[in-house]
Point group: D2
Chain length 343, copies 4
């Protein structure tokens, strides 16, 4: 890899940089040799702040750039937070949106509809462009889609599945956390027609950062520690997202498969584990499922099927990384199998 | 309730009092107006210790007796730890065994086979007498049952189901933690023939005290905190216990029903939540399941079906108590339902 | 203790019952044989709610009354939340105030200035009446004292020191958490003139419930877990409270002693540990300090000096109880000693 | 920075690689462009294991090499664990020892006393070579120093103070965790004669990884979570280490200064915060202390004095990094000040 100074760096803007998702992006992008973070947008409350005021850890050089150049402190390499409206997007190559759901469609519209001007690529980390069908979106999110014409060109950003489309898309909808794990574990099996499509149960567990940095009583330390509960039972918005991915894998278009998706809040800050219960099609054995997954991810750097059939994935083993680890287990119920996936 | 001084108190011995189970028992029994703890047995290492040396919190009066009499400190009301062999069981009314699995059968045999002498009632908190079928026991625990003749008289101690038998039994096998929640939630539905018996999936989550106080690397703070993992997938010993209870509820004897039981270790010290996925029999609705459970537990003080069909049980709400709370939810998969039970 | 039905129960009102302090009070008072909770006041948001809606654990009988009578569930024994203004205080024997600082003075004024009508005793758990000197109050809390005439009759409620006065007072100001531990550990030594008064350093550590249930970003699970920090360095409002208590113990009136008080927030929900560094007066040894404390608390049921001079107090050993445990250690610096106190 | 392939990489061996210290070293060194990890030694139990068996997270590429070359997985870049005796040290450039205290002196002797053969540099992370005076070592560790002649050449590895000596030393004794923070905060003030030397109180708090991975009851999740306690009061082995550093800073040789050092165990896995109470010399103000520290660390990349005099260091802000952050605060006690340092 050539030294970065010889390569043109992508000028990047991160909108909604003050949330947890934003901080993770900043952490990762600061280390990227081809990226230069030119804009960080916050809220009215944080506009003008240095990033070190929002996240003091960035004041202390906990980030090391990959190209050998080290900022005196990361904060020195970062612009202060601004308002989204103040950004000149014609000078930006890529925009990462980490804005609250339902605000993104409007803002992305504004960014991408710029007539003849240069428009950046947009990678949206909210849920606003994940569902291809605008009626499904309306049903689950309670409001009409505010940029349906953009939805048609949006690409669902599960890279392992849509590598080519993601590369060339102008608008990429980054998958949700739970759906990433669930689809990576299930889609190859669906595609290969190894499992029943009407009997998929996803019992999901997640740390609390997934809930964001908003000051809500339910996310207070004292409300979370030493406790555990399910939430959004049979009503979580990641269900349609997972179903869209599996329906596509089944060749059904955007709908068709219905899954059970039950998330639980775990007293830890980060990590996701999904225990997925599936029923094999006739004559399909656990070894077939395993081979299918191993084959699907043979070339993938970030998705791993454990070699030891007895080893159980732990969230601690992928903590802070972008790796996904899974394994397959035979179930005591005949014809059923259990997938465990962590990220 | 009359003052305790007028009532003859039960003389109680707790074997294996130094573990977490033992400490919970001591905490509860110290408050019982009709109980006098006469013997606490420990290991060779702890023999002779005061209980305050094992659990300093008992030195400070954190326990309040129900009959109005308060010990200067609980430790003053407790005997020092002794060796099991030193106890004269002919002077004891009730023995609670919290010994490691596989040692209990031998010791209970010795206690209960005393010829003409008075023998105490024995309440065993280990798994040694929970399985009625000794072959099943051997299959799951890897050793032959060492007291098969006692097994025939042992009563599985799920009080809500076996109240009469528990009252009169000489030997009661206290249920395991996970099986308690699972059976309370499922048995009424099985009995009423409302759910399929070949499609029960129990995704269980537990705090760490369930693993005991043994110094094992996997239970170290640094190995547990901020992480989560499944364990004993399709191989946990609570499965046969749950299956026995459900088979009996189905009128099948001790075997017949097979369940999926997948436990997970959660970074908290106590609490259990079980998310149970079931398939309704034809024409059975979620409301039928709800009515069945409400009816089953209408008179029970310790088992509650939440009135609000939307309220999700949380382990924090029953923390430190002996209450079990559950609720029923419709599943997005047709004909399926989700039970959530916490203890 | 006679059965409660023969004794007239105190009619109690708890104002601000929806916070953590309120929930602890409810938990404790539900178990008291001589107390009947007649009123629970909340905020506009929670007015009309049952207590089980604020704290679901109260729906499940986790509370056992000391007189043998058990409510079907605690919630059945509790009134729904009301507004403070709706309470007829002439029918109340004792009022517990758990209201935010600065609102209490006004409300307590209203309750106690009722002309010829019966007025209840008021026990205030806020800081509004803890400081005897209204100028000190104004300096530290930033607002003028709104009920100075009541301040003159208010009694600082550290029972171990002011037992008689507390019993007969109409208005009792309950001490803060940190000041309770610090004064219990230090006041006897000050009174006996064993330690220097110009060199007291209190390094305090507390769990998060002390911060209350308000939804603030700093108290979110993700902001607290796996981290630790000092706060309000040299500026915490408990300092004047501690100094008042120690000045009184030194016979100086309400001021005179100045202490260093540095609190830290610990990632746990409850518990306080204070490590106090003191300098002995000439010829005073650690054993003298120990004897002094043992003598001071010989008759006290809730304050304990550890017998083993090597045993170090742990917050876990007094968790959930009203006991305070302390010990004294020699310091490597000559003439200094270290006190460790937990509650 | 040139691509690593053009530079000769240091061949490194890590002894005792299976503990937490070892895993941190491996994590850091895997990313270093000039280091090639050639040997990892474990115990008899772990000999032969791949590093991924000890720490599964290393199987998944959570480490990125700085020179652009990425191992397929870190485990591919690491040798399997071996026994220390099997390593040919003549082929090694640098040895990192993370062995238990008291075993290191013998092993390091063996490594460095090799006659005419090439001997590697040794960086010892245990406490075995930190104390210059062998009598002090014997007093605190209870055993005689087993390599006194090596002790005379060992350099105490606090780089900020001993940069030159560390570079040229054959044997470097890496400082303990607590002493690093304490000395960085105090030594410049001692050197500049700004503070009293007989009144230094260090109240230290640490996460649990500092206790190591040994399976001890006191480090179990259930024994640690939701609790806090002091330990080794006035008897912790880091005290002589801190005193040695401050005595040197005072120009007194290896002894002379005595400090109070009181550590506490906090329920989190990593992080250290030390609250240090000091007394200023006459006419010295807090601003003088601040200037002195800022000056001392102006050129240091890893030590930071917070610019905002009100900002309080938090362990979360330096978590996982090698940065140390501190701040100085005026104390309410006249002439005293408070330092807070986190790492």
């Amino acid at each position: 890899m050539a030294a970065s100074s010889k390569v043109m760096k992508q000028k990047v803007a991160i909108l909604g940089a003050a949330g947890y998702t934003g901080s993770e992006l900043v952490r990762l992008l600061l280390r990227h040799p081809f990226v230069e973070i030119k804009h960080l947008s916050g809220t009215e409350r944080t506009a003008g702040w240095s990033y070190g005021q929002v996240y003091p850890q960035f004041s202390f050089g906990s980030v090391i750039t990959l190209d050998g150049e080290r900022a005196a402190t990361p904060v020195d390499a970062l612009p202060p937070l601004c308002m989204t409206d103040d950004i000149d997007f014609s000078q930006v190559d890529t925009v990462f949106c980490c804005l609250p759901h339902a605000t993104t469609q409007t803002i992305v519209s504004r960014i991408l509809h710029r007539g003849t001007q240069h428009t950046p690529r947009v990678i949206d980390l909210s849920a606003d462009f994940r569902l291809a069908d605008v009626e499904t979106y309306k049903h689950w999110y309670g409001t009409s889609h505010l940029a349906p014409e953009l939805q048609t060109e949006a690409v669902y950003g599960l890279t392992e599945f849509e590598r080519k489309a993601v590369r060339s898309a102008r608008l990429v909808a980054n998958p949700g956390c739970y759906p990433t794990g669930a689809q990576l574990a299930l889609a190859p099996l669906v595609r290969a027609q190894l499992i029943a499509l009407d009997d998929i149960i996803i019992d999901a567990k997640s740390g609390v950062t997934g809930a964001g940095r908003a000051a809500k009583e339910g996310n207070l330390f004292c409300e979370v520690t030493e406790g555990l509960h399910a939430y959004a039972v049979a009503s979580h918005r990641h269900a349609p997202e997972i179903e869209q991915g599996l329906s596509r894998a089944a060749g059904m278009g955007n709908q068709g498969v219905i899954v059970n998706f039950t998330p639980h809040l775990i007293p830890m800050s980060r990590g996701i584990l999904e225990t997925i219960y599936i029923r094999c099609r006739p004559n399909v054995k656990v070894e077939d499922l395993r081979s299918c997954l191993e084959e699907a991810y043979r070339e993938e750097a970030f998705v791993h099927v454990l070699k030891d059939p007895k080893q159980i994935p732990q969230t601690r083993h992928v903590r802070g990384s972008n790796h996904v680890v899974m394994n397959v287990f035979a179930d005591r119920l005949s014809e059923r199998a259990i997938l465990v996936v962590v990220l």
